[in-house]
Symmetry: C2
Subunit: 400 residues, 2 copies
């Protein structure tokens, strides 16, 4: 019998998705599972996006240009990016199969095998996956739950730069911490990138989910860094269109875009129906975003207050995105997550959380932490908190 | 200014798509371009697939399971594969973002950097791209246009096996030659794979496009090779749904499927609307396929007879898919293709062909050959042939 490659064997499983089989088994036993594990909001997609697909009159679903439909790219530039103060040419944008593909392209374009990317821990685990797939090392500046995952001083990045460092990769606001980089912090990161001639890959897919009064400052607007910035974006979170699988990679560096096109051509084109949904989504009224944002602020407050009321649990207050990292009074958050799905119920329900250890590079960090998404309606969040508290009271590995 | 990675610089551009900018420029000058370059048929997608999307009632376009919607996978097994004599469990199938992603997954799962994959030249150029992306070498058994690209004896493969050879990758019927592997030939390949313990990756996306009387024989039905076979499939060609971006990777080897799931989770999920179209497509009536096949046989005959009537041109008669490789009386088919798009018109029209050299591994092979897709209606094919003939008469690098 042939054996699979060593690389495929070593490929990390998704920390966020690997517990799904246990959750499915629980559901099959009739258990209600509250999903705090995935960034899959329950808010409806904008009607204009759904209608664009329902009213399409394609007779033949053919390939588009590998960079995406020209109409979509033009509309992204004129209807979306211009409205948020990012001025682009159509040639600066290439549509991808979700933001995930855009991250992967950015990693492949900026780094060779053995190169290093700097980021901040805890970070979105798939950054690690894409780095692994390309033989690249992620190095992470530590941020600590006890400081509310405060943005570290730029000197911390500078200390970690080696001759193999090619890029800084930031998620702003941050998944999983909700940490927001303000203008001053972005300018300082920009200065470092200029000084060391590093790429700045900025994942801004949660741009619409900022809960501070400060205006959002995009990496695309750092002065005199145009040639070093690669933006990763997506319609998934902004319009609740996760399943459409449409994102984009954006850069004013023509070499980057030419290379992105080569990778894009290898997979032929982004999905057409998703592109149609994305075109429709660009007409989403401002009220939609306002309502969604207010809803998330309410959910965040409910979740974070609720978590902090549970004995032994601590969560900082995130200022963006729709996750928080909480520390739990348990020996090991992964064991606890598995136990919750396999052995525990409270009034016929349980809770799925994502163990946070794999969001860290530093060994041993985050072992008792979990990423918790506040993507459910408030009454559901309240019930989920009740179930979580009940579980923590009786979990055999509790530390309180 | 930061520079892009050496790997991204060396990444091959798509031979099939790299002339698109010249074609676009021709169109902007008002020139009609006959596209013989891409496998983008002009036949309508089945109404049941289009209607499934138009009548969907999603309110929220959320992620599916990374392996695809369970309903789609079940239907693929029971409605499609069973009907063509391939018996599968739902666990043997994972939906991908087009057949392209399935090829890439198969390459990653079977080979480590430095390993080798055997195939037959000329072959689909993106096999080379995916191998390049993963640091893997493609070695190709030569087949010759003068023999009509006849399937080579299995001994030719055996001679090329080294300790680094991990897989044989076949496209059946073959893109770009239309060569069909019959049952006996598949069994012999299977024997070699058993003997040398090689993976057999079989790309069967053109399975419905076979123009011989012999029944199609899938690699999935080679006896006692279940644990070594990986099938690559797609709805793109079968249902004229290229833009839906839905394919699948199929294997009875549980290690393969577990590894595929890890790669699938890294990109979250296949596009939802495409999956809905694919579910609808499974109800396509048999008459649709019959009509499409008859149309392609007529187009093939028209194209191949027409090509062979042009002085100095030779095309074998393909027995599958919807391409042929033709040799042209020119110094260099790529120069000719560029010249046709940039400098030539005949009655306001020109023709786009794909130079075939990059479909070969052997240096110098195929330089005067082109891949020609017969995906247009017969009157269009006739006009395209007329334009091609006119171009060949006056092309400065002609060799006749």
């Amino acid at each position: 019998m042939a054996t699979i490659s060593q690389k495929a064997q070593a490929m990390p499983a998704s920390a966020i998705r690997k517990l799904i089989p246990l959750a499915d088994a629980a559901k099959e036993r009739g258990v209600k599972v509250f999903h705090l594990n995935m960034g899959q909001p329950d808010i409806k997609s904008p009607a204009c996006a759904l209608d664009a697909v329902k009213e399409n009159n394609l007779k033949l679903v053919s390939y588009s240009n590998s960079a995406g439909l020209i109409g979509l790219r033009k509309d992204m530039v004129s209807k979306y990016y211009r409205s948020i103060g990012i001025n682009l040419d159509t040639a600066d944008i290439l549509m991808t199969v979700g933001g995930s593909e855009a991250v992967n392209f950015a990693v492949e374009i900026t780094c060779d095998e053995g190169d290093e990317i700097l980021t901040i821990e805890p970070f979105y685990t798939n950054y690690n996956t894409f780095a692994f797939m390309n033989g690249i090392t992620i190095k992470a500046v530590h941020t600590d739950i006890r400081d509310g995952f405060k943005v570290p001083p730029v000197e911390e990045f500078e200390k970690m730069v080696t001759p193999r460092t090619k890029a800084i990769l930031l998620s702003n606001p941050g998944n999983p911490t909700g940490t927001l980089y303000g203008k001053d912090e972005m300018l300082r990161i920009g200065e470092l990138c200029r000084k060391k001639d590093l790429w700045l890959i900025c994942d801004e897919v949660y741009r619409e989910f900022c809960y501070s009064d400060e205006p959002y400052f995009s990496a695309m607007n750092i002065p005199a860094l145009e040639q070093n910035v690669i933006l990763v974006d997506s319609v998934s979170k902004r319009y609740n269109l996760c399943g459409a699988r449409i994102g984009c990679i954006v850069s004013r560096n023509k070499d980057v875009m030419a290379a992105a096109m080569k990778y894009a051509q290898a997979r032929l084109c982004p999905p057409i129906y998703g592109q149609i949904a994305a075109i429709g989504a660009l007409d989403t009224p401002q009220e939609y975003f306002q309502a969604v944002k207010e809803e998330y602020i309410a959910r965040r407050n409910c979740m974070v207050e609720g978590l902090n009321r549970i004995p032994g649990v601590f969560s900082p207050l995130p200022t963006g995105a729709f996750y928080t990292i909480a520390s739990l009074p348990v020996d090991d958050a992964e064991k606890f997550a598995r136990w919750m799905l396999s052995e525990f119920t409270h009034e016929g329900a349980t809770v799925q959380i994502t163990p946070a250890a794999s969001f860290y590079k530093t060994p041993g960090e985050g072992l008792n932490q979990a990423r918790i998404a506040y993507v459910l309606e408030i009454p559901e969040i309240q019930k989920a908190l009740e179930v979580l508290e009940a579980g923590l009271k009786v979990y055999p590995g509790r530390t309180l």
